[in-house]
């Protein structure tokens, strides 16, 4: 009895401590569990399955069961080198990204600077209205831009006419279809604007005060204080912009249809993938295309991170 008492007396404080920590850790796992289960079920395992499917000739017209598909080794990977539409779709995507990424940074940054200006009256009205197009469903936006970009009755060409320019036939001209989609993309800059606005408001005012005393003008303050201070967010936006370009799909599908009209000018990478998988039911080759996209995105993200580590200033020291 006494020994037991002693034991419990000695053990009690430790036991009371340890379970508390362990119980909290268990609660922690409980809270994380929705994501952990979802990550394994909807992301990790499917990626492994995509790798498996890329070695098969499975067609979605048949039920997925042994006997309905064959292992074909690297055949699907070999097709990458003889697929003219792959190069075309990469070209369209890169052409889009080369315009979308720079304007996807400059325009929201300009908007953020404008609505952050202490000289702007009623800034909340401006913030709300600049953000408004971002909440407009893409189908509605596509319909509106089809009208605005109409070669004859659209207001954009009427405006160009008013200043003596002849507007292109936008969505029906293979040369202009991608820039037209870039214009439509401008309506989605609201999120980037808000994130940049938040980071602008996070720049300590002492820095501006000190530089003003040192005689810096507005441009210098922007170049040497604002830009370095918000560079992490700029880098984040550019990374998301590049990745977004490679996943571009909805507007292209709605305007150009499955074939990427006019004349394949809007055959984005993702549309090519969609056709292979869900129009031609060629799941094996589509899996290869999906994995290629995955690799491209990983490489680009890694490059951006490497680049970001060197050129971005983190106010809090390390990441």
């Amino acid at each position: 009895m006494r020994a037991a008492d002693l034991l419990s007396a000695r053990g009690a404080p430790r036991r009371r401590q340890a379970p508390m920590g362990r119980i909290r850790t268990r609660w922690g796992w409980f809270f994380l569990s929705p994501w952990l289960i979802g990550f394994v079920a909807f992301q990790a395992l499917p990626i492994v399955a995509t790798i498996f499917l890329s070695f098969t000739d499975y067609s979605a017209t048949k039920e997925f069961a042994p006997g309905n598909f064959n292992m074909v080794g690297l055949d699907n990977y070999g097709r990458l080198f003889s697929d003219p539409q792959l190069l075309q779709s990469l070209g369209v995507t890169i052409k889009f990204a080369l315009i979308a990424v720079p304007i996807g940074l400059v325009i929201p940054l300009s908007f953020a600077l404008l609505v952050n200006s202490k000289h702007l009256m009623a800034p909340n009205v401006f913030r709300t209205l600049y953000f408004l197009p971002t909440v407009i469903p893409i189908v509605a936006g596509v319909m509106v831009f089809q009208g605005v970009l109409n070669a004859q009755s659209g207001w954009i060409n009427l405006m160009l006419e008013a200043i003596g320019l002849e507007g292109p036939r936008w969505l029906s001209d293979p040369q202009w279809a991608v820039p037209a989609l870039n214009l439509l993309g401008l309506w989605g800059v609201g999120n980037a604007m808000l994130i940049l606005l938040a980071s602008l408001q996070g720049v300590p005012t002492e820095l501006y005060d000190a530089s003003t005393i040192d005689g810096a003008n507005g441009v210098q303050r922007f170049r040497y204080i604002t830009l370095p201070m918000i560079s992490p967010v700029i880098f984040y936006n550019v990374t998301l912009g590049i990745i977004g370009a490679f996943q571009y799909f909805v507007a292209a599908m709605l305007i150009g249809g499955r074939n990427g009209d006019p004349q394949g000018a809007t055959l984005f990478y993702n549309l090519h993938f969609y056709r292979q998988a869900f129009v031609f039911n060629d799941m094996g080759y589509a899996s290869v295309l999906a994995l290629l996209l995955f690799v491209i995105v990983m490489i680009l993200t890694t490059i951006m991170f490497y680049f970001g580590q060197r050129s971005v200033y983190y106010a809090g020291g390390d990441l």
């Binding site: 809270f31 499917p46 909440v135 509605a140 869900f278 993200t301």
Partner: protein, 364 residues
Amino acid sequence: MATLTQVERKDRAVPVRASSQLGYKLRQLSTNLGVTLLGVVVMLVFLMPLGYMLATAFKQDSQLTDSHAPLWPAAKSTYNYQGEDLPLYNVPTEDGMKQWALVKGYREDSDFIDPANPEKGVFNWVGRYRVLDPVYHFAPTWENFTMAWEQVAFGLLFRNTFIIAVISTIGTLISCILVAYGFARFKIPGKNILFIILISTIVLPPQATIIPLYVLFAKIGWTGTWLPLLVPAFFANAFDVFLLRQYFMSIPRELDEAAMLDGANPLRTLVSVIIPQAIPAITAVTLFHFFFAWNDYFAPLVFLVGREDLYPISVGIGKFVGTFSIYPGRAMATAVLTLILPALLFFFAQRQFMRGVVVTGVEK
């Protein structure tokens, strides 16, 4: 005392300072006006397509091909003379522009009547009436809306979208709040690595997983139902977890420690302390997800294939984009009906939403 000092101050200081202070205030005011004007001009250009949409939605399509017609919804004005509706024209005369009604037009001259002075009777005017500008008056039409409503099954699409949006938003909120709380407040071995994995799934292209998911959902009979759109929402997503975690971390720990001392378990603490403090971020996530559900196109297109009665608005309207492009009025009316609910929701929740995003947006 107070008035005395004020008077003293006025007496001494005003003559010296007034001019420079007035100058400063004027300069300030002109800068403010200039910046605000710039903001207005940029906004007019940026929102111009919305103006086009509203104007065109209330126009008859015939107005679009009429090169004389104004940009706003309008109809040609007429003047009733002896039981007949005569078209009105803007006629240049020696006394300036006159609005006359055309009785009979010839090649080089025409018969007009002046509505302002009908007693004068019909008179002849020398000139080509065909080059005259017709008179228009503001005449919006609801025709496009009734036609769009008849052709597009809006009632069904709204109902489907609403059910999908509400259920998946609830799932997203519950799961993301739980996961964000776990990441924000608990010591878990390997938490940092897990968080990095979570964040890196933001860049994971959905294409990398959609084929096996499609195969799986087809096998268990989920394709052609809403389950593939609803169930994954209950398992959290990186973007919303990140946003909520940032906000939770900004809530002082003392608040939940006090609740713990009162004997509340972590779940209770979350519900009674953290959630009430995080309303702006929760509003932001709710709206983000609601807009997402309104917009989601790829997943319904793939998983609901063939079940048009289950389509949400994105896919349901999608098939009219091509056919309506030759009827701009109907297309714009459809666009108005499609965007009106998200736009209204945004306006009503705008203050909370902006606060939630701007506070949580401060991240490194």
